[in-house]
Subunit: 392 residues, 4 copies
């Protein structure tokens, strides 16, 4: 059951960490720490093995994967020895990374993306391909009438720059029969027209915005306050980050998309929105080791005033990469099971999950486990297929 | 369904905050913030109403309840206006607070405690009484052969100081037909002989050690690391606290009991014990607004090293008091339902829960909700009974 | 040597805390904690005694001083007992608080302010008056040609709204022969034209922006890094504050003035400007107990990367008020000594000091001490003058 | 003016970091960040150049310098490239590192240490040698009558194990005409008998306990509270550290010596001792990147309660090593100037300085600068002497 994972933003930090990590685990150079599909309750024969994953992708950057990997070594994200050990294989993936197509019309662009996907699937004899968006965060586009209807959208693509990049990739994925996962807060597949398209093509999709740092903490701490009937008065957060993602998020529009995505969990788990703001600041020196500081003021019995403060020093790419692999494996298995449309069962992974789902991490975890445990066992064994090409 | 709540350590901070709070909520002077039995999923007709609770207790101190309440105002725990408003009723409770009996033998002591409990139940015409231990933390006693067997223990009480205070209260509670809750890390009912006694008298018991601060956070954060397959390398904690409890815990023996109780959640939810220690330091100036600082070092994908640090400024008594009320209500209802022996369903409330239970807060919460939701509805309405005496 | 202290913004938090505090210390209800002029190296017979200070001021608000004092009790800034004890005297000050004049032209406004000052001095038989600006932070005004020259400015006042409020008060103070202190980051006396005016009238002035929280810490921590030859790579700060000042600073223009004032100390003590930003966020629930969090990344020997992080929970008005009293006493004494123009020796008190002064706190302290210790002893004793009116 | 620096504990983290660092700076592979003698106010022709320093030492360990350097690379203290570049020179220093002598009597031991020092000086044609103790922290020895008098001590050395190791090295240094610096909290030269010996031999000495982390911060923050007349109520500190030093300090006796040394600055700068404790905990995973967390509670005007909390993540060896080089250079220059006995002017560097000195960092800095600036200029130029052996 060889499975393709097509990374939009394949030359970025998260993508390269995902590829290097998969190659390292496969070669027994590292344990799959951080991969939740390796935990006993989620191990399932329907999941493609890590060694079954074949990598490809699009990017607008031209920096080679190996060069980016070395930059991630210098930044303290990847260990030098691991990168050295997988450098040859990593260079091999290069053949499957294409420059992001840019056609005369969006219709052309989408068609060329879809052609790249089909070509990738065929060349490697893949059972299926999951497109995972790990490219730069976009601004939220203004609403457009064509967003409401697949036919209108198909027409608009011919003469208008109607879709933001993330949605063009989702469009292409669906028409090529590929599942789509949005690991960013960008629009991606979250337009009614694209939902119709996914249904029509019988492919699943998931998103949005991988939950790795401050929001992960919010998703366990906010439920704690709720379960204890304590009143959260304010929740203020400061995120300091360098790296490519930091530079992008310093642009006000992208920042707005990210911040909205981050605050949702409070409203959803507490049932009200406390005072306070979440800020994202770009501090190049912080590099990839992001620092988040949050102050929560709350009140308890008889009005007593209390505080919780935390500082999180997390390596964003190292937190994100194993989840990217998990999402690809789970979404591919769901696709194989015949599921299509949104996958709310994957809420565990996202800051801004699709659907009317719980926002507490523990409930999301339980839903995820129950979902996977309810899957049938595939009739053809999911063991390692005959290797051919890339994952040599 | 008037229900007695008998507080061992009735003149302490937690006890007085519980009584003042119940009186204040009853008089609509305050909302029951922090009381989890007031949350929709736990509201149940089988629970005695807050206005049905009648307070009494034992203490070795002679400071009046009103004087202690004023000290708690000065310490910033209780609001002056609330204490002023309930001072008369609080003084009324005084009649039901007895000096802790101290007989010639432990047999005598236990008999006199049991007599005080029976007398309290009769004078107020109570359906049942729950004894809640909120007295000072004791050292862990050395093991004793009589702990294994109720008959041996009954014999030993005649000629040996075999039981620590908390266990004498549990013994007396059971023989008087009362339920027993241990909110402290002391031994309490957790001896095989006492378990036999509870079974024989058909009464339930619960414990140990109310989960209010650092351990509450551990019970959501440790599962977060586990669910995300991140490896916790070290977890170090410092607790600075003043107040009566702080002074007691500064004594090495009591400190040891508390620290053991605090670390259990890590072992249980992670499946291994990370490096690091938990310290408790007595700093009088900190008063009742305890400060806990924890540093967690963990590693993720490809060995990346990360850190989480938190500071908790919590008012211990204000966090504990509503849980004391919750526990009394839930244990009384369980008793009314005919349950006896340990109540593992109450693990949500404790640092060191009884039985083979989950240690993650979210799972404990779910178990608690399912348990309560499975209760039958009492045939006689749980509404306010005819008032007689104290809760005028 | 009865001395007037005229507070611009007399009904604000800092002003009312200053007045209540002076009355309380005078009545031996409180120690002068936080007053640096009470420390041995700064005690000097030339300083007016706290009991020699007579209070008055302007404000645009109509909330009575006593009412504001009660609000500060509710906010946890002032102790209820102290406010109760000085309430009558505080009400007595009311007679000397005037509504901020607003004339047809700025010339008129300034004249009316000056008349209020002269009237205050005469009615109370004051040796001299120090005007202290503790009103809301203003935006930085665009430059204007009249700022460069006193004569041009005098002319412009007749037909243009040329001066921001803080500078109108400084203008009036100088023409009335009063010293002026700017405790805010507003423009105040810091225009060449006003400097000429101060010189002409022979009065001293000081500023700007009282150094009470994050910047106070910066003024000892940045020199520490410099003295140890450690390289500060980034310094990021988040300030969360409620209260009246917080609401004002949430307005972008005022925020900009404040932030510029806060960062200066880094540039001046380190000799370079590290990466990072200072943010101010308005969180009403935080109230007057401001929280600042700073993250400093630095490197040492052989490029080792290190971090310092601090959280400051400070009561802004309680930190500011004793400094307001200190500044009034020191500036009055300087005036009495015949000094005029800027007082760089007061840099110790300010975020944005005037002149080419050291920015490390310890050097500022030494300069201040040496300055005061070099003063002559006044020939007429500085003991309590004949009381008349207000400070009964 | 080639100068020897003899490191007691030459194979430890601080020693090896010092040697590697000096070699790296000399070879222009690194800037002397963290070396305060490279700051303009302390540059002086009387100081031996970094390139004039010749390294040797004693240790009880047999791990080679190069091997230890690689361990420090793995621990993130030293950069791999620097260690690779200086590895040959580092191996060259090996010839000057001797196993710590252990004679039949302490008299013998001391004589053999002195002989090693004299031999080192002669072989390398050194102007003088400074012995710097960077070996493991010892317990404080019980008092002994021979400590009071040099003659009694000389006699006792023949038949009693009277001196702890650090003091044996100080004894040997003095008799060999070498200056002695104690970078640890051990006893070292701080016995009256040893002070007499230093005077007799005309050599200077300095100590104790390098001030690198939490205490460095205390030495700027405690004066800040004092200068602002704020009352520090409690100061509690937790130090988490791994590494060799951490393991030693986990032993209660050594811990006690260190903690006493750390608290002194509060008593000295505040004039009173606040509540609270300093704890040191050994957490191997923390490695050499020590974490200190301090909570300071203080009160201001009218009793307002405030808090400061900081977390310091410092690389201990990287903070210590440049100071070791500074101390060797300054002490050698003092020796060359004919100074003998204690050097209180070096208080800037120590947690527990000798003599009646200021404890605020800024005053210590000023005293240090004034001292150095008062030195005469050496008549023979301090330029590079004829190289011979080691620093090739
Ligand atoms: N790292 C985390 O913890 C985390 C968590 C949640 C979400 N995310 C999201 O993941 C995304 C990637 O993060 P990163 O740190 O790898 O950022 P990055 O800047 O290192 O990588 C983004 C990559 O996308 C490429 N790209 C930009 N526009 C493109 C386009 N139109 N088509 C194809 N490629 C394009 C860029 O060239 C770059 O190589 C971001 O949007 C971020 O918000 C990351
Ligand atoms: N406050 C919390 O958040 C919290 C959480 C978990 C557990 N606890 C536990 O609750 C207990 C009470 O805490 P507190 O802050 O109220 O302490 P406290 O010191 O204010 O009160 C304890 C009371 O127990 C009384 N007492 C002591 N020995 C007794 C005996 N033999 N019989 C009867 N009374 C006796 C004391 O006189 C005192 O009045 C402690 O054991 C503490 O460890 C508290
Ligand atoms: N509290 C501190 O630690 C601190 C430190 C440095 C500077 N400051 C500055 O001190 C000032 C006062 O702070 P606060 O907390 O008392 O604020 P506040 O909002 O409580 O008080 C400001 C007062 O000024 C009055 N005012 C506004 N415009 C006026 C005008 N044109 N004429 C006369 N009065 C006017 C307002 O009505 C109000 O009563 C602020 O500018 C603040 O930035 C305070
Ligand atoms: N690193 C800092 O920031 C700092 C600050 C102040 C003080 N110190 C002190 O510096 C000392 C060294 O710290 P470290 O981190 O290098 O420790 P370390 O454990 O790495 O090194 C100590 C060395 O001393 C050697 N040693 C032990 N006993 C000896 C003896 N009798 N004779 C000769 N050598 C002996 C050990 O074998 C070891 O090689 C410690 O005492 C520490 O307390 C360090
Ligand atoms: Na903190
Ligand atoms: Na912190």
């Amino acid at each position: 059951m060889r499975t393709g994972i097509w990374l939009v933003g394949a030359r970025g930090s998260v993508a390269v960490t995902s590829i290097v990590g998969a190659l390292a685990v496969r070669a027994s150079l590292a344990d799959p720490v951080g991969c939740v599909t390796e935990l006993p309750p989620l191990r399932h024969p329907a999941l493609p093995a890590l060694s079954d994953l074949v990598f490809g992708g699009h990017d607008v950057s031209c920096v080679s994967l190996v060069k980016k990997a070395h930059a991630l070594v210098a930044a303290g994200v990847l260990p030098a020895a691991v990168v050295a050990a997988v450098a040859d294989e990593l260079a091999g993936v290069e053949a499957d990374v294409r420059h992001a197509p840019d056609g005369a019309t969006q219709h052309d662009t989408v068609a060329r993306i879809a052609a790249d996907l089909a070509d990738f699937r065929e060349r490697h004899g893949l059972a299926r391909v999951v497109v995972v968006n790990v490219s730069s965060t976009e601004a939220i586009p203004p609403d457009h009438p064509a967003y409401a209807d697949a036919a209108a959208l198909a027409a608009a693509l011919h003469h208008e720059p109607v879709l933001p990049p993330s949605s063009r990739y989702a469009y292409a994925a669906f028409t090529a029969g590929c599942a789509y996962v949005d690991f960013t807060p960008s629009t991606g597949a979250r337009l009614p027209a694209l939902d119709q398209l996914a249904a029509r093509h019988g492919v699943p999709y998931a998103g949005s915005d991988g939950k790795t740092g401050e929001t992960l903490l919010k998703s366990v701490l906010a439920p704690m306050f709720a379960m204890r009937n304590l009143h959260v008065r304010s929740w203020s957060g400061t995120n300091l980050l360098g790296g490519g993602d930091g530079a992008t998020l310093a642009r006000p529009e992208a920042n707005a998309a990210k911040v909205a995505s981050k605050q949702r969990v409070l409203r959803e788990t507490l049932g009200y929105e406390p005072e306070g703001h979440t800020r994202i600041d770009y501090v190049p020196d912080i590099g990839d080791l992001k620092t988040a500081w949050d102050l929560i003021t709350f009140s308890g019995f008889l009005g007593s005033r209390m505080r919780l403060e935390f500082t999180w020093h997390g390596c964003d790419s190292a937190l994100a990469a194993p989840l990217v692999l998990d999402l690809a494996r789970l979404t591919a298995a769901a696709h194989a099971q015949g599921l299509s449309g949104p996958l709310p069962q994957l809420a565990f992974f996202f800051k801004d999950p699709i659907g009317d789902v719980p926002h507490g991490l523990a409930e999301q975890w339980r839903d995820l486990c129950e979902w996977v445990q309810g899957w049938g066992v595939p009739t053809t064994p999911a063991g390692p297929a005959e290797p051919s090409g890339q994952p040599s």
